[in-house]
């Protein structure tokens, strides 16, 4: 079954991406993780995301559109990327999630993907 690994990172993590002293370590960790998943053949789709300051949030209330700068909640952990993996069970998905670099600094949420709607088959 398919699970989404929702990779959250801290502000420090995002800062390390572009810091010359730390970026090699940062990307090295992610590349190793992504390579291991790719080789096991479980990845359906996945992407890293630009840092939260590039984000724009849209809401429609009573027909009125508001567009805001950045993610609304100021939390310690922000969405940094995601993968959809196809594995036999949650336990396997958790094992992969635990290997993500951000599991040690922030968190990885593991969520089953809804099966396709019958009409779309």
């Amino acid at each position: 079954m398919q699970f989404m690994l929702i990779l959250r990172e801290t502000h420090d993590d995002f800062a390390r991406r572009a810091d010359p002293a730390q970026s090699a370590d940062y990307w090295g960790g992610w590349n190793a993780f992504i390579e291991a998943m790719a080789q096991s053949g479980i990845v359906v789709k996945g992407d890293g995301l630009q840092a939260p300051h590039t984000s724009t949030t849209v809401r429609v209330r009573d027909g009125n559109r508001t567009v805001e700068d950045g993610p609304f909640a100021d939390t310690k952990e922000q969405l940094g990327g995601y993968f959809i993996v196809d594995v036999p069970d949650l336990d396997t998905a958790i094992d992969w999630a635990a290997k993500a670099p951000s599991a040690r600094t922030a968190s990885v949420e593991v969520r089953p993907v809804l099966p396709p709607m019958p009409s779309s088959q």
């Binding site: 079954m1 699970f3 949650l90 336990d91 089953p112 019958p118």
Partner: protein, 426 residues
């Protein structure tokens, strides 16, 4: 088919199968979809069908197989009705057919228990879930055993089942490395089931339906995890209790407290096995909760041999137990030991520090309070507490025993009979 039986006989046969095989049947029915709630519905419908058909056709030779087939048909019908079945149907069909009961080598229940003890399930609901799903104990009774509101417990159980169905947990025995983490909830559930059977659920018809099941499951885990000391501790604990099974009622079915039991009625073989298990477990050098509780039983068992209850040893073990697994039951047990050892005032203080909201409806607390108050010379207190205990007792034999104590307490003019302690150590 056997000859048609009386309605009553059929009822009892269906109930017996339901009680003794419930978890196994649920495990079989749950394996594919991991939908426990659907399996429970299908099995209840099958049981209703059994009650209609068996009086006419006779009780089948293999009632379990009959129930499984009936429940599977219902599951299949439902799947069809929901339009879920697709090209995979023949394969699903084949697998379902493979899942017929295979006799005794079966460890489906164990897999189901470890599934319920999965770390992705809320820790507070793991043991209740095992009790309901694997051992067929109803939510109301589980709520009472865990001292929570029945509606809250039902909601938690429903949520947990939805989670098992939807979250994609692995339905299999965990790998060796993950075992110890999940073992605690499984052992807790086995012991809780034993306690339920011991206290009242196992009737005269089926004297060891739940207690026997609990012992059987513990043996399975001891075999499966020979290096873990706690399963041995739990098995020893239950064997000590089971050894005294026949001694806890007299010829007229009256309740006999532990210190008045005739040790000649205790099952020596079970005691020897329990002592052996406890010794082997102790070699691991980690003295866990169940080993502590088994050790307490061991001290009680030694009373007839040494002629006196070793209160100092009991006190030490209770301290250890509370250090490892603090609980209301352990606190009550220790308070009684403290009182017996000559300090009923301290014991009473200890009992009264327990949160009233949690112990108010807890029968053993009132029994202990009455006993400790009596030892402290507070007769009115002792009488009032035993009255509360009587009101909370469902077991007729225990009730009669407490009423007798009440009469003695209320009637005693100053001289209090201290010889009547209860089985609070169990």
């Amino acid at each position: 088919m056997t000859t048609p039986s009386t309605i009553e006989g059929v009822d009892r046969a269906a109930e017996r199968v339901a009680r003794s095989s419930y978890g196994k049947l649920i495990a079989i029915l749950t394996r594919r979809d991991k939908d426990i709630a659907a399996a429970e519905d299908a099995l209840s419908e099958a049981l209703v069908a059994a009650l209609q058909r068996w009086p006419v056709d006779g009780v089948p030779n293999n009632p379990e197989a009959w129930l499984i087939t009936a429940a599977r048909n219902r599951l299949k019908n439902r799947a069809r009705a929901h339009g879920i079945q697709r090209a995979a149907e023949p394969e699903i069909q084949r697998r379902l057919d493979e899942l017929a009961p295979h006799g005794d080598q079966f460890d489906e229940r164990l897999s189901l228990m470890f599934l319920c003890a999965h770390p992705a399930i809320d820790i507070a609901v793991r043991t209740p879930l095992i009790l309901q799903v694997v051992l067929g104990i109803d939510a109301g009774r589980i709520a009472r055993a865990f001292l929570v509101e029945p509606t809250a417990m039902s909601q938690r159980l429903v949520r947990a089942k939805a989670r098992i169905r939807d979250a994609g947990l692995r339905y299999a025995l965990p790998e060796a490395g993950d075992m110890p983490e999940r073992l605690g909830a499984v052992l807790d559930a086995i012991y809780a089931a034993f306690g339920q059977g011991w206290d009242r659920l196992d009737g005269l018809d089926t004297p060891d339906a739940l207690t026997g099941e609990a012992i059987w499951l513990a043996r399975l885990i001891v075999q499966l995890m020979p290096d873990q000391p706690e399963p041995k501790g739990l098995l020893a604990l239950m064997l000590y209790c089971a050894a005294r099974q026949t001694a806890r009622r007299d010829g007229k079915g009256r309740f006999v407290p532990l210190d008045q039991q005739d040790p000649r009625l205790w099952d020596r073989n079970l005691i020897i096995e329990a002592e052996g298990l406890l010794m082997t477990a102790a070699r691991a050098g980690t003295f866990g909760r169940f080993q502590c509780e088994a050790a307490i039983q061991s001290v009680h068992i030694q009373r007839p041999i040494t002629g006196a209850l070793n209160l100092a040893a009991l006190r030490t073990i209770y301290d250890l137990l509370i250090d490892r697994a603090d609980s209301i039951a352990a606190r009550i047990g220790r308070a009684v030991v403290i009182a017996e050892a000559g300090d009923p005032t301290a014991a009473l203080a200890e009992l009264d520090t327990l949160p009233l909201a949690r112990v108010r409806a807890h029968q053993p607390w009132w029994v202990a309070r009455s006993h400790v108050s009596a030892l402290a010379g507070l007769r009115d207190d002792a009488v009032a507490s035993i009255q509360e205990a009587i009101a909370l007792t469902e077991d007729e034999a225990v009730r009669a025993h407490l009423i007798e104590r009440h009469e003695r307490l209320a009637g005693a003019a100053g001289s209090l009979d201290a010889n009547h302690r209860t089985d609070t150590a169990i």
